[in-house]
Symmetry: D2
Subunit: 458 residues, 4 copies
């Protein structure tokens, strides 16, 4: 999610900003540009490059823009749900981009539909537009947004663009990441700071939990729309979701990962191993940390094929059975006859880990000790990272010993919660804390109703 206000190449800058955050969503992309008169939308399913390959940005002038990359958590991969969403009335237009999950969206929607409203999408993002519209008679847009946000329960970061302002809002716990920067005179907002670095912008500060920023030609105005609670930024952003060059809540992601590797080595060393290797790309930092802490050589035991793309033809089961590999291949020259420590950033279903253990053993590894640089994931995420249920999570249903057997490893150990916090949280007074609900079951945001619904569902 990326926004900019006050730059005459707003659409292009947004394109590069989204491009830097492509890893956050590969199912769709869109940009809405404010050209001073109205809002112009270009969006489609697919990667940023593909969506914009035929766009000539000269035909797309404007001064402000918001953009979004979509990660389809459910199989609703339809065009309509690709964001930003734009809502046009006879008098004005509003564009909305959203990252996170509104937990009471369905309930709000049901009420609105009964009163005669028609929804355009199945996206939880759309409820905010309708809540705003219901207010818009006698209120300013800002008042309508605040009234709408107060009815939402969940984890969210919103960018809202109208003909004359850009609004930026973060949920009261700050579960999703959102940073503010400057590019010359322009304001920029992004889910990750790697977007600032790619466009040459400077980091200004984090958007605060419960804060609404109103950005216009008069400058920036900050409003606290809900009482701020201690920040609980999603731990999985550090573990695997964000880019290593981003700083989240003032902590560099690569550095936090390397520290997780170091903590992991302290907690669960393998002294008699020959080499340490990591699963590319997100586990490399932790693997190097682990190797340094243990004094073992770090080697490339597994190579990722860089050319797997949308058009790659998947091998048939028959060919896979014959040994045709796809995304990852082992480096025989490195692992043959060796005792290998394989660092992975997390285990969700366990299927990927098993595939890699098998690859290494087929390539001649004598032993494979799996070390995971995050805790056991035993609970579903309610805040938008994915939509897995408890049943699908291997650690929710198995001990370490059982997991070891399932993934065919010689041993398996996980980093502790304490180790994870130590690696991520520099200083409680500065970056406060993390949301580790998927590891601990301690959900920072949950309505009574949701709680019941949640236990019924998962």
């Amino acid at each position: 999610m990326f926004g900019i206000w006050g730059h005459d190449k707003a659409a292009e800058i947004t394109y590069y900003g989204l491009h830097a955050m492509q890893h956050r969503g590969q199912d769709g992309a869109g940009i809405v540009i404010n050209n001073g008169e109205n809002l112009k939308l270009h969006k489609d399913v697919g990667l940023v490059n593909d969506v914009f390959k035929r766009v000539n940005f000269a035909d797309f002038p404007g001064y402000a823009a918001i953009g979004h990359v979509r990660n389809a958590t459910q199989d609703d991969g339809i065009f309509d749900n690709v964001q930003p969403l734009v809502f046009r009335s006879l008098s004005s237009s509003t564009a909305i981009a959203h990252n996170g999950r509104i937990m009471n969206a369905e309930k709000i929607r049901r009420n609105l539909e009964e009163a005669g409203s028609i929804f355009q999408t199945t996206s939880d993002t759309e409820v905010l537009a309708h809540l705003m519209k219901k207010m818009n008679g006698k209120n300013t847009t800002e008042e309508a947004i605040i009234a709408g946000l107060k009815q939402l329960v969940g984890a969210y970061a919103f960018l809202i663009l109208t003909e004359d302002k850009m609004y930026v809002a973060l949920d009261p716990r700050g579960i999703r990441p959102l940073s503010l920067g400057r590019l010359g005179d322009a304001y920029v907002v992004a889910s990750e700071t790697c977007a600032f670095s790619i466009i040459g912008a400077t980091f200004e500060r984090e958007v605060m939990p419960g804060e609404l920023l109103t950005i216009s030609n008069e400058g920036l105005k900050s409003t606290r729309f809900l009482l701020r609670e201690p920040r609980k930024l999603c731990a999985m952003e550090y573990v695997y979701f964000s880019r290593p060059d981003s700083d989240l809540n003032l902590v560099n992601v690569h550095t936090s990962r390397k520290r997780m590797g170091i903590e992991l080595a302290r907690e669960h060393p393998v002294y008699d191993a020959d080499v340490v290797t990591g699963v590319p790309d997100s586990s490399i930092s932790a693997a190097i940390g682990y190797a340094e802490q243990c004094g073992l050589p770090y080697e490339m035991g597994v190579i990722k094929n860089r050319y797997i793309g949308r058009t790659f033809i998947q091998p048939s089961q028959e060919l896979r059975d014959q040994g045709v590999k796809m995304k990852l291949s082992p480096v025989r020259g490195v692992v043959e006859g060796k005792s290998v420590v394989m660092i992975d950033d997390s285990i969700v279903r366990g299927t990927t880990s098993r595939r890699i253990v098998r690859l290494l053993k087929e390539a001649g590894a004598k032993e494979v000790h799996v070390r995971i640089s995050s805790p056991r994931i035993e609970n579903p995420c309610l805040y938008g990272i994915d939509m897995l249920t408890k049943k699908e999570l291997i650690a929710a249903n198995h001990t370490n010993e059982e997991i070891k057997d399932i993934i065919e490893a010689d041993s398996v150990e996980f980093l502790s919660i304490e180790g994870t916090e130590k690696a991520i949280v520099k200083d409680k007074t500065i970056n406060q804390g993390i949301c580790a609900a998927c590891m601990t079951g301690n959900y920072p945001v949950l309505e009574n109703d949701q709680r019941k619904e949640f236990y019924r569902k998962y």
Copy 2:
């Protein structure tokens, strides 16, 4: 370059083999399949995935196939030159794929055209087809190939497919890599062994310098068509061109690179640096070796954007001047305020190195010490790696001190030739030697005429 004889999914296997070697050529790809009756070609400009995305391999049955990925060394990016080339006459067809460079191709072509032959491409590969055609009255195809090869001067690996046989040939010095493997009963041939690993094949042996293999339903036959000389496999294949998981001439590429990093640390240590970093992806192995040898932490100081593809919209000069980055971005959290050792695998023109030094300094690096894990490249390659002239090579025209100033680094040092050989050549009796002509000027293959022409041109 990939070939297979004796597998009922020949086209698909070739697709995966080429895919594993995509890094060897990104300008075009093609596969010729032998379906028992005739040769069927599918080729186009572009990446393997793009070229074959609409191909249904079920419509492309066959028992043998050869494939090629094209690296357009010159700006001749035309469809016709994409390989394999197929030559059809009323009585038979021949497909040819070639890796390397035929130094006397133009001279041969001129003679043939004067005698009335019409060429279809501007590729040096085509001369072999015409030399073979001129022989084909009273000779076997094998005799025609040998007669043709004997007229060629250069570095070459050829795959030739006819309706009833597959031929494999390597130049007398073995400058280009070429390996033989088995996949069940089938024979496979590939430029790099990573192709074997991706398809589940086993490595059998290197094709020998000056050897012609004839593979058919009767099995494999080896002929020595020219006196074998000590092998001189191209050093740049180890330095940056090949994939780390390939074994070239029995030596693993990642391992040789890590050893180059270790040798480099021995020759040119930087004792008071804070971190070691490498330019992704080809310099990572060396950087880790360097860091381990020096006892310094290895960190990700530079990140490569994985989503740059054909459809990426390049930023305008105006945006680049404003700081918009493309392929690489520095990790501020890692380099800010630090003294950084930056390992790169080679310096050719020096422009990339300068860009990275600048990125690191902009991100706050206090000092940047550049260490190159290969020797100074002072001479053009005549054997197909690229077509740069002496004028374009920074090391051919500048001392280390000058290079340091040009790339804006705090110091620059190169690995020695001896260190390079030590890292690559395990044992002279086994893998003999390397072609380091671009570093030493000592060209293993050169006709008298070529020699003159060469000095006139470069």
Copy 3:
């Protein structure tokens, strides 16, 4: 516009039905299929063939469907406005296709938006969906549709598809064409009967003015939702819009056109001409009628290029000035040295007529007498045929004599209103009358407000 209920190849049949009516709208096409559980939409801008070229109808099973081809009367050529429109709520879905124009749509929309509704399109069709939604608490869908329709003023034909029924409605004057047919046990509905003939269906009857048909698995039910007034089917459907093989309101279009030509010959003969020619394709029938009545030879004086399509590269002005032609070319061998009667079906702006007169004269025609097989068009259409204003209509601003000079003809005459009626209306008790508002200014449907607005606007 096409609908079918009760056929297991509903989507395919709809495709062929739309294809037969491609001439009614070339800017977009869509089909909504009812697969027994929900509504599935496929639509896009472009011709029917292009929109559906990648669709495999086997993936699109269903039992009922509605489809639409879009004629963008205004430059709003956006994807969203392509029909059918689909409205989904948590409990049900509704698809709507519409042909015609709702004159009070903007007023209704403004009221709904003030009450908090959000519209998805700029199409006048969408108001019916919102009017229905507002009713849907305590009413059946049928009651909601009737309540909605009663609020609309204009000329309209609607197809509405829900999970369990298909609804068909025609405005109280029956200005737009709409016929009912049978295909085996299935019911089919189409704007023109040529769609029936292409799919092998039989014509059953016209949909009546002010009639709502409800079609479901229980069969067909007819409701009169507004008092029926004498039918006034749009005359321009006969003049040029419909296909010659369609029967509109029980009269064949080709036959009515030929009769217009015959009437025109009676009213305005040219006795000393050499040949009669017509502008392809819509004027050919009239030209043949004219020639037969006058006893003059009919010849192809002008040829239409059949291969002009979306991808045709328009000649630059420079090339057009040099004589490069596009769509039409004269047949010199037919017109050189001749006195030509050129029959055209209508004159709107006059630019096309002038172009053809010029073509004929450049090809050597001695004289060109233009005869128009419809009356002078002096008033804008308010019912959906086009959106031209009075200012743009040549006959609203010029006498025949002036038009003759503007289009550079030797004489110009028009068919009278009486002649037109005589050619179209077989029998007042059967097919009643026509809407000739654009010719006479006598608008059959007009609110007081509209009247004022209309005179302000046009």
Copy 4:
């Protein structure tokens, strides 16, 4: 086939010229442009519009060009065979476009291949390039072309473009059409004069049988390369192949067709019929002539769907059995209860005629009398119109009475050879005669060898 010399928009003009002649070949298109330095080719399979839709003619500057549309007579629809063919050597380039058929091409090719030449295509056109290449040591290009042409037997029209000249050649009988025109100072050449009319060029004269034109910046030079024999222009060009607005050998095609209809009415009238109708588009002229001569009304009994294109989805057999129609549909309002004379331009296999007779009868026609405005086609064409064998020609195997039964008509009659000649040949001293070999079996060009081979094959 189109060529131009001396115009600064040569490529664009050629595009429009080819577009006008799209009906001559719909399987591929190409243009070669001479930009003063070298020849640049753009070609592909598909229609002219599709092949050039992404071409920006500004990137394609030049002063001379040749273009071709390909009619794949055999199922060899491969890219390589699309013309013009371009042959490049180290010293020069030659482009060739060809219309017709070289009967001894295979024999020549066999000899050349045995001497070591490699062919690029399976096209008979390529032999001329090789014959020229073999000569090019000591001769001018013109001498090489003449020497090559003298070895060819068949019907041919050639356009040859080199860096400095354009050559135009026609076979000694002039079986294929070829006209010369002027566009300002530029020379233009086209298979049909409709191409001149579309680009605003004037007709100059026919290219003569056995004539070679050499066009360059020095102007036009004419050489007789073979003794001219009386011209025998292909009758089928008049019957159905050419466009009605073209003049072939000084006779307008529409006019000749109308005269064929008139002659047909004289030879085979149907006095008690109600209406005359024609199969669109090529039979309309004849049908009008027939109707005028008989004094019967001409009506549109059959409509052709204008939107059938490459992307049209063909109905399945199941749907066709249910009555779904494709290309043609009958006009019930015109034919129901009537006795219909259906004029078709020719009967080849008889399948199309039967389909139309059935359509008319299903639409209620009482009687269908088929009248064919050309003679019975009893012999295969050897000169490039199509590749049917005697076995496939209905008239080669059946009497009129039998044909009547096969196509389910009430009567069938054909125009006589004499009537055909009378309609086409104005004046033996001016346009001489026609090739009616397919009707009479009297082949104007045939080698002894060919004769034997011919009787063996067909």
